[in-house]
Symmetry: C2
Subunit: 218 residues, 2 copies
């Protein structure tokens, strides 16, 4: 499958995220923004999520955000997922204008969900609305349990926190209560999930939650 | 030990990094900028490095960069290290102006090295010279072996790459040759080290390299 590569243009438009969402709503497409540090496991999580969506008949497209390259987009294309690679050429986050420019690359009428893999960065992506219906923050067990205090905005703005690489819980000092407590103190409605994306363990709870959200949002 | 907290001011001064380095050189102080993703193990690495420096009679101060809080500065203060906490209030990297404002907080005449723990971010800190003599990039094994291709600037500009959490090499897919090869392709002089900061394994090679650099730079 061919991978279209789009470069990010940093043209500022304050209302762009609302325009994107409006366009998605017209086509009845739901957009999910996946954020987290480099190596938090965003790609593996998305691959697992798409697999679960497929079982449920939910048709998914992916926008892969990367500073450079198309390593993850190739993984999506390999399994036949419509994917557009967005290269930010150094920029540390995705902006709504880029999503607006990319949407015409998809056949939205044949799509239910677009999943965005944002740039690996626990800081900047949290500041930007890009037209998504849901913001999902991933935090992997090896990153440590102090990240909510250190990078508060991400966990304050996320609709859900997914603790990834949960199979590694016995190999790292990681106090789950510290993470969940600090998240809920900042964001009482945050939905928290523990998953091992590679094996699929823990995914059912997240899939149940997110499909409810999609149903409500449509 | 009391921790001074300084807030970052985003006043732009293109030559500020040169001013910082000039001021350090006058006092014969060497500055090392430690960068890497959230959870790459920067704090543990710095604590181990300071311990090694102490054994060699190298007097060290630390500037702890964080968006919020002073969790890591407290760890430094606990072991009697002069430390200043720099809170960026949301900003994704440290700028030279902040370092310039912080230097008067240290007694530079009684110091050999200042170690800076930059914001956990593999993107933005790589773009900014802050007056340091050395840039060190940390990449932890759990983050994965595709990070050099995805975040090239960090590895292009670093003087050394330290692969941390190396004791976890058998638990994650991590092809060391891919990482070292991709780093050297971009940056032929990069010095590469594999360490377990918690146990100290692999630190001797890095300490040998960095003390040579300090000696040359003074």
């Amino acid at each position: 499958m061919e991978i279209k590569i789009v470069r990010q243009i940093l043209e500022w438009n304050e209302n762009c995220h609302a325009e994107v969402q409006e366009q998605l709503d017209k086509s009845n497409v739901y957009m999910i923004n996946i954020m987290g540090s480099p190596g938090a496991g965003k790609t593996t999580f998305i691959l697992r999520l798409i697999d679960e969506f497929r079982k449920l008949g939910i048709r998914t497209g992916v926008i892969e955000g990367d500073i450079a390259g198309k390593i993850d987009a190739e993984k999506m294309a390999e399994i036949g997922i419509p994917v557009v690679q967005l290269n930010t050429d150094g920029a540390c986050h995705i902006e709504a204008m880029s999503i607006k420019n990319i949407l015409p690359e998809f056949n939205l009428e044949e799509m239910d969900v677009i999943v965005i893999e944002n740039i690996g960065n626990l800081v900047c992506p949290a500041e930007f609305d890009i037209g998504e219906h849901l913001k999902i923050a991933l935090l992997s067990v090896p990153e440590g349990d102090d990240k909510v205090e250190k990078y508060p905005l991400m966990f304050t703005r996320a609709d859900a926190l997914v603790i990834t690489k949960y199979d590694m819980i016995n190999y790292f000092r990681f106090d789950v209560d510290r993470v969940t407590g600090n998240s809920r103190n900042r964001n009482e409605n945050i939905s928290i999930h523990k998953v091992n994306s590679a094996s699929g363990e823990g995914m059912q709870g997240f899939v149940h939650w997110v499909t409810e959200k999609i149903r409500e949002g449509k």
